[in-house]
Structure formats: C-alpha cells, structure tokens
C-alpha cells in the first residue's frame, strides 16, 4: 500500500483538519466530531441539510457544505457509515429552527445510523426528516433485499434540495423536491482497478490486467460482474443501456448528466466517456440540459467511472441552476 498518509488510524481526523485549514471561509469542524458545518451555521429560519457517510468519497460530503447545498456533513471512518452521536451533533449544530433534512445513501449501515440520530434529535424536539438516495441501477431493486445503493446521484440531491432550502422552502417542500430528484436520477459505475482502505492495507479485490469490474458501488466492493476491458465507448454503452431503460429516459426528455471519476481516473478519460454519452443521448432524442464531468463521489484511488442521468422538469432545472458556493461545487447561477 502506497499512500500519502501518516497513520491509517488518524487519517480521517487529519483530513478534516486539512480541509478546515484550507477552507475556513466555507466550513468549520465540530469539536470532538468528524463533522463539518457551514462556517455561518446555523442559518436562522432556513431548513438545514445534513448528509454524510464513510470517508474516502471526497469531495463528498464536506466539499458540498456551503451556500445552496449542505449545512452539515458527517464523516465516518473510511467506507464506514458515521455513528449516530456524530450525526446527532451535526443536526443540533445546523438546525436553524426550520427543521433538518437528512440525505442518506441507501446502505444498511447509513440508514440505521442516521435513523438512530434522528430519534435522538427528535427527543430534543428538533424537527427532522430524512430521504434515502438509491440511484444505482446495477443492483436489482427488489422488496426482499436491501434495495439499491446510493451513489453519485446523491450530489444532485444535495444541489437541488439544497437550492430548495436556500430559496426558503419549508421542510416538507424541501423533502418533496429531494424525493423528486431521487425518483428521477439513475446511475451506474465500473472500475478498472480496486482501491485500498488505509486500515486494511491491501486492495479490496483484485483484477487481472485485462479485467474490469462492472456495477461497483463506492466502497471498493466488488461489482455485479467482471468482464474483459473494452473501449471507453463500449463501457459507456454498457452503463447507459442499464440506466436508460430503467426510469426510462425517452426521446423528448431533458436531462442533467454527471460523468463521475472514482478517484484515480484521469479527467481526460472522463471527457472521452462524456463524448460518447452525449452522442448516444443525442441519437435517442434526449436533450442534455447541463453536464458535470469530474470527481464528485469517489472511492479513494480507484480507477473507474460512473454515469448519472437526472431527468429534469422546470422546477428541477431552476434549482439546478440556482447559485451554490461550496468547496467542490460552485455555480454562479448559469
């Protein structure tokens, strides 16, 4: 394992310090907890958004704390959902009196920990509600399983529900908007290489030089199946084929596109993928309203990519375009 770290046991704490020292204009850290909140939290009278999850997904979620997106982000150990006490502290720190919406990715651990924190905060009389993002079409949706995972589509939920809160909408409305995003967003990812959790010291799976893993999550888990490596266009096709039929996305629809890097992929390759995504969507008569190419929801140094489509209506378009100013997602409102 080669990493620019000091000690696997303190890497999350040291990262948090590094973020706060870099961007004090955006975030501050809650003493004793790996929680980042807006530098100006709580924002009085505004619905607050709290998200989080394991670390290792940077810039998620601390990079999305700020005007127009999240009010608080809770970081667990690497790839391990945070504990209820930390989430509870985040809720208390950002509540501006209008209630708090938790944006949870659909993993058993995340759901349970956020639920416990919600119970704790409600006992304090704080109005808390939660939404669960499950955009990953790689995983079959079935009532008798855990359901689909939440992956990069979560960033659209942060952006759009965050804009709704910023506009002064009430908790119920912010939740409705967030759920509208969840209902309309689908993603799928793949990896060329695994990644190594610092405390584990070795890769979470191995791939031969000619193999890739399809349908991965964002925690270094193996995916749904393994294949020989293919040209980028064919990889994009494989992901798109599952995504497009799922909602489905159809001719005449308007979408936002996110081509997300898993952490170790050069931006060059993400752009090569986007070229093909744009051309496939064009062929299908699906209009691209806005595109985001970059690292939004990563898995440490994993090489790979995910594609996310979000079907837009006028309300979602307006909120997607609304200004946001966070470390990793800045929008001037265009």
């Amino acid at each position: 394992m080669k990493k620019l770290i000091n000690d696997p046991n303190t890497v999350v704490e040291e990262m948090m310090e590094g973020i706060v020292q870099a961007y004090p204009q955006y975030v501050r850290k809650l003493e004793g907890f790996n929680v980042l909140v807006r530098a100006d939290a709580p924002v009085s009278g505004k619905v607050a958004l709290v998200s989080g999850g394991g670390s290792g997904h940077e810039p998620a979620h601390g990079g999305y704390v700020g005007k127009g997106m999240l009010d608080g982000a809770v970081a667990g150990a690497v790839f391990t959902s945070p504990t209820p006490d930390a989430i509870y502290e985040a809720i208390k720190a950002v509540d501006g009196g209008a209630g708090v919406l938790l944006v949870v990715k659909n993993y058993t651990g995340d759901v349970m920990n956020f639920d416990m924190a919600k119970e704790m905060a409600e006992m304090d009389g704080i109005k808390v509600d939660s939404i669960v993002v499950n955009d990953d079409v790689a995983v079959e949706n079935s009532t008798w399983t855990t359901g689909r995972r939440g992956i990069a589509g979560t960033v659209f939920v942060h952006k759009i529900a965050g804009a709704a809160a910023d506009k002064g909408m009430a908790l119920e409305e912010v939740k409705r908007v967030g759920e509208k995003v969840i209902a309309n967003v689908r993603s799928m990812g793949m990896a060329l290489t695994p990644c190594t959790v610092p405390a584990a010291g070795k890769p979470s799976f191995t791939l031969a030089e000619n193999e890739m893993e399809i349908g991965i999550g964002i925690h270094g888990e193996p995916g749904t199946h393994r294949e020989s490596v293919k040209p980028a266009d064919e990889v994009a096709d494989e992901l798109l084929n599952k995504i497009l039929v799922d909602l489905p996305y159809e001719s005449g629809d308007e979408v936002a596109v996110m081509v997300n890097g898993m952490g170790g992929t050069p931006l060059m390759e993400l752009y090569v993928i986007n070229r093909h995504v744009a051309s496939v969507l064009k062929d299908k008569g699906i209009k691209v309203y806005k595109t985001f190419v970059g690292e939004y929801m990563t898995s440490l140094e994993m090489q790979g990519a995910s594609i996310t489509l979000l079907k837009l209506d006028d309300e979602l378009k307006g909120l997607l375009d609304a200004p946001s100013d966070t470390i990793a997602f800045k929008n001037f409102g265009r």
């Binding site: 993993y107 651990g109 920990n113 799976f205």
Partner: protein
C-alpha cells in the same frame, strides 16, 4: 451456576481479544462480499470498549452491558455498529440492576439482544447475516436451559450451533446488508458478521468454562 459482574467484564475483555486477533480475518471475509472493514470496525469498537471498562468495574451487569452497547454505537459505525450496539444495550436493559446472573437470566439477556438486532436491521434468519449464527445459537441455548443442562455446557452448545450457522452462510445468497448487492456472487463466501457473532459467543463460553 451464576456469573457475576466481574466475570462479565472478563467476558467482554476476552471478546475484545478475540476480535483483535481476528481483525484481519474478519476484514478479509468482508472484502470478498462487502467493503473490507468489518474487522477494522469491530476492533475499533472493542478497543474503545476496553477503554471504558475501568469506569464500570464495580457497576451492575446491566450498566456494564449498556456501556458496551453505547460505546459500540458511537465508535463502530457501519451496519455492525448499530446492530451490536443495540444488542448490548438491550442486553443491558434485560440485566438492569443485577450483580449476578444465572442460566435463565442469560437466556432473557440473549433473547433481548437478538430481538434488538432483528428490529434494528429488519432482517430474519436465512438472509446471510449475523442472525444466521445467533438465532440457532439462541435456540440451542434455550433447549439446553430447558433441559437443565449447566450454563457452561449450554453455552458450548450455543457456540457449536453458531459455528454451524456461520458455516451455513456460505451456502446462501445475501439479501440484507452490503453483500446483497452481489446476488448469486455472494454464494461460497462466509458472512463476516455471522463470523464475529460466533467469535463473541465463543469468547463468552471460554470464560465461563474456565470458572
């Protein structure tokens, strides 16, 4: 046979050691069908528990177990944190105020713990989780207690059943937790949580056998 609060603290310590010794093994199991952190998570939690034990040295068993549970909840994270945390907190409720517990008390404690896991995780046996080790273990233990077999032997039988349940998880598809995303691919791999459950029960039985 009864065990007292000191014995319970000993059990917790041996549990922590068992997890520490199997940290890599549990993580390896989790890397096959999960996200390669179960050993790391559990060890982080149990080490924190060890740090908390001195403060409850002379407290009743209920307080000891509740403290273990709360510490796990706030240090483990992931799926196993709320699950084991809830289990120990419920166990603590069942043992509230007691300085000594016998076979029957332990049955009630065990039942409360498993019930907590099931409620928190909304899972049942057969979904390739820790429940597949714990539920048969509880059944064996209950049968043994009903038949007035001594505590030590009852726990040994529970451990044996947990081991069988743990091994059985190799044969089934996961439908709860992270491993469920793998579908058929999860077959052939042993569930890490079932394995840690077996290790915890084994640690308890060892201490009781040595008394």
């Amino acid at each position: 046979m009864t065990i007292n609060n000191i014995n319970v603290i000993d059990i917790i310590k041996v549990m922590a050691n068992a997890i520490a010794e199997n940290k890599e093994y549990l993580t390896e199991l989790d890397s096959a069908i999960g996200d390669a952190d179960h050993g790391i998570n559990m060890d982080r939690g149990m080490q924190a528990v060890l740090g908390k034990l001195p403060s409850v040295e002379d407290k009743d068993i209920g307080t000891v177990l509740k403290t273990v549970g709360m510490t796990l909840v706030s240090t483990v994270g992931g799926a196993s944190g709320p699950l084991y945390g809830t289990a120990f907190m419920r166990a603590g409720q069942a043992a509230a105020g007691k300085m000594e517990i016998d076979e029957k008390d332990i049955l009630a404690i065990f039942e409360a713990a498993l019930q907590g896991i099931k409620e928190r995780g909304k899972a049942v046996a057969g979904e390739k989780t820790m429940i597949d080790a714990l539920e048969p273990a509880l059944k064996s233990y209950r049968d043994a207690v009903d038949n007035n077999i001594g505590l030590a032997e009852a726990l040994n039988r529970a451990v044996y059943a947990a081991k069988e349940g743990m091994e059985y998880t190799k044969n089934i598809i996961a439908t709860k937790g992270r491993a469920s995303y793998l579908g058929e691919r999860s077959i052939g791999h042993q569930d890490p949580g079932a394995t840690s459950s077996y290790l915890l029960l084994q640690a308890a039985a060892r201490v009781v056998n040595s008394l």
